[in-house]
Amino acid sequence: MSKIKPGKGSPYARILGVGGYRPTRVVPNEEILQHIDSSDEWIRSRSGIATRHWAGPEETVAEMSLEAAGKAIANAGISAQQIGAVIISTVSHFKQTPSIATEIAHRLGTEKAAAFDISAACAGFGYGLTIAKGLISEGSAEYVLVVGVERLSDLTDVTDRSTAFLFGDGAGAVVVGPSAEPAMGPTVWGSEGDKADTITQTVAWDRFRVGDVAELPVSEDGELKFPAIRQEGQTVFRWAVFEMAKVAQQALDAAGVSPEDLDVFIPHQANMRIIDSMVKTLKLPENVVVARDVETTGNTSAASIPLAMERMLATGAAKSGDTALIIGFGAGLVYAATVVTLP
């Protein structure tokens, strides 16, 4: 048996830079109300969402990713040529193959960086971050670009009064690289496939090919409806608040960080009610700054945590070097939580 030499990685990794892109068009609740029987007050009380950004035709998954990635690379102070791997987390890139990551790696000007997409819905950013850390520690890449990007407006049924107001579009990116000291705690992550039906795309794509359209959802005009995301609100709420609070606590414990030592909490921006209830359940001290970007961004799935992180750093709500607990959770069901040092 030959002796195989292992790679030389960096034992520790760190988020070095963050960047975000929010589509230019801001969609207020009034516009959502054109299609559903509801009210601005109802939407705000159930979700805390006042406005969200919806992408225009030019603001594709690729273009939004490039914008966010470019900012993250500049913020990290490296060049695209130094990136060894590009990981894109998305559920709203509508071309099965090739991945969107290869296009991003090429257009950013990387030197043939490894590139692939991952599908972990609203936990996608944490999944990507965890993979990035692994690649860096075992030496397959020195710098890794992780992008969460979504055009969830494309997967929104504007006539579904329980979800029409929830989703938004955007991209958030980070560059992860080597660090002299630990700056990312262990990830507490997992999946609960027994709850797969609680958040799901309404119709699988291949149903359209089969031509068996008998039971497919149709609009009032009799047109086949494009697939959308639907969810069981109460079930997801219970899981998100109470089960995810336990996961968040485990991530703190795994990193050896007490709530008192925490500066920032950035939960996936799904719904303000989930965020508020989670903060209460976790009994976070008042000095911990909590991301509440969902109010003006809506739920942007994999993009929500890096977008919130970028905004908190830009507004001064959080600062470089702060210790932040992040947790993503969503369709799968899947989840990932970890403690990181902010770039």
Binding site: R46, Q234, T235, R238, V241
Partner: protein, 82 residues
């Protein structure tokens, strides 16, 4: 130890007060959570989870929709308590 009906109503009143800010004296057996007590579907989940802990009972999601009034919840807990 099993809780009595009065104890359960009193406990639910405290939970509803904590979660929705409704005065405890308004939480009576004939009151509807949504229509009378301003407990929306998400707050109802919080009430249910708090009740589970307090009364050592499991209330699955599919049963939550049947708990329209404080009396419904009280009966459910009386029947299912451990």
């Amino acid at each position: 130890m099993a809780y009595t009906q009065d104890e359960i109503v009193k406990g639910l009143a405290e939970i509803v007060n904590e979660i929705a800010g409704i005065p405890v004296e308004e939480v009576k057996i004939d009151k509807s959570f949504t229509d009378d007590l301003d407990v929306d579907s998400l707050s109802m989940v919080e009430v249910v989870v708090a009740a589970e802990e307090r009364f050592d009972v499991k209330i699955p999601d599919e049963d939550v929709k049947n708990l329209k009034t404080v009396g419904d919840a009280t009966d459910y807990i009386l029947k299912h308590q451990g």
